[in-house]
Symmetry: C2
């Protein structure tokens, strides 16, 4: 595995994992006033498209990273709709 | 351009554009209490890694999408640090 591939994996791990602290914070505080509904609607839809794209193009890293991100983005979106 | 490629472009456009309404909301309201500092720190770093990965692997869509996302994620991170 070369340096560029490792950099891509680090990048994917960071952007995917970054939604975990936001989901935890939102679940614990239910403070969603500063969170944009438009952002999470568009982001969850986009992540779902990435997941479908990854599945259709048999790209496991894209499918996996976006499948995990979609779970956390959906949790945040659910809380935003419930506690707006 | 086939259907799978178009789906990937739609996905990229959605996840990139999604940060624009969040940045606008954060700039206008300065309400960052519900926004996770850990998320935006990790996300901005990850997006920067994606950008470097895109440049090193000569991948224009990855470079472009992450370059744009990095701008908006950085604005949100800046407001989160300034108005915490």
């Amino acid at each position: 595995m070369n340096f560029i591939t490792i950099m891509g994996l680090v990048a994917a791990a960071c952007t995917t994992a970054s939604f975990i602290p936001q989901a935890i914070k939102t679940i614990n505080t239910k403070d969603t006033s500063g969170i944009s509904l438009a952002m999470y609607s568009l982001f969850a839809f986009g992540t779902m498209m990435w997941l479908v794209y990854g599945i259709f193009s048999s790209n496991i890293p894209i499918s996996l990273a976006n499948g995990i991100t979609l779970i956390f983005a959906s949790i945040i979106l659910y809380y935003k709709i419930k506690y707006k």
